[in-house]
Symmetry: D3
Subunit: 68 residues, 6 copies
């Protein structure tokens, strides 16, 4: 313990390390628990697997791209 599940978009290798490091650091600072005890799961989700406000995120992003 503690454990962090981060539901996020797909990340490149550098971003993965940054996320793991940063989230662990914050968690350790807040709780006073040593970083060694932290496990982080990067729950990468593609936009077609996520709904925001009742809409597929992939559709929302596609519509945004058309406007830009």
């Amino acid at each position: 313990m503690p454990t962090i599940h981060f539901y996020c978009p797909e990340l490149d290798e550098e971003q993965k390390q940054e996320a793991i490091e940063g989230l662990t650091e914050v968690g350790s600072e807040v709780t006073g628990i040593d970083e060694d005890n932290f496990v982080v799961y990067l729950e990468e989700r593609t936009p077609d697997m996520v709904g925001v406000g009742g809409q597929k995120l992939s559709d929302m992003l596609a519509a945004q791209e058309e406007q830009d």
Copy 2:
């Protein structure tokens, strides 16, 4: 907030939108919270990654097919 994680079989694009829309609508109606605040995660799982009653779902489905 609120957030819905739906552990389900693989869905086609139409089913994904239907699930996101429907689950968001129910959640909003029950809580009175505006749909815009809802996030839905479609946690699609293939039957080999799921156990029901101590058995792999993929084995159960294969056995059912043999009987049909």
Copy 3:
């Protein structure tokens, strides 16, 4: 299978039944899987346990009340 985790505010008994019924119905319609197979977990969270946009939801709601 399938399973739905609904992270939501505290609900009264009627709302709980409504949420369970409604989410199960949508899930069953979308997947074609019989309602009997559905499990729903109502993950009720008080606003002090939830952050939105980097702020405690309890603080946001308190600020809103002051404005009203």
Copy 4:
């Protein structure tokens, strides 16, 4: 989206805000997604509800206290 579930020990009000702020900040920096879109759930767990290495965390902490 994105969403962070932080499984952690019980936190006081200040720690809750610190965790929400810090985790959101890291998530936003890594993904480039605006902080407004982030939801954080503080999944506070008492040590009797957590096992580490096959042992109840509450028992481990009690044993440690005896040694100190």
Copy 5:
């Protein structure tokens, strides 16, 4: 890693230790990963927070008791 989340009814202290020990043992045997690396979360849920087949588990249990 690895981590096990066990969504279960309320457990007494003995059952908690049994669950943590047993689940960790199985996980370690299957993966070959040392037990020390395992974290188990006992996600105890009261029956009013769980739906099965579209019904509150608390209502189902109450109905069963009436029949017995």
Copy 6:
């Protein structure tokens, strides 16, 4: 109910069945609930998606291999 989410490395078909069977058996023994009611999700994660002590598990495993 009950439901078990097992966050684990990638498993072969035999390991999957072993995990499902073993976890279900332990859960049933501890709770007294019939195995038929148990659902197990094998949440297989590759080491690049997992952080331990602030480091990517994939990097840790690579460093270990170099040492061996």
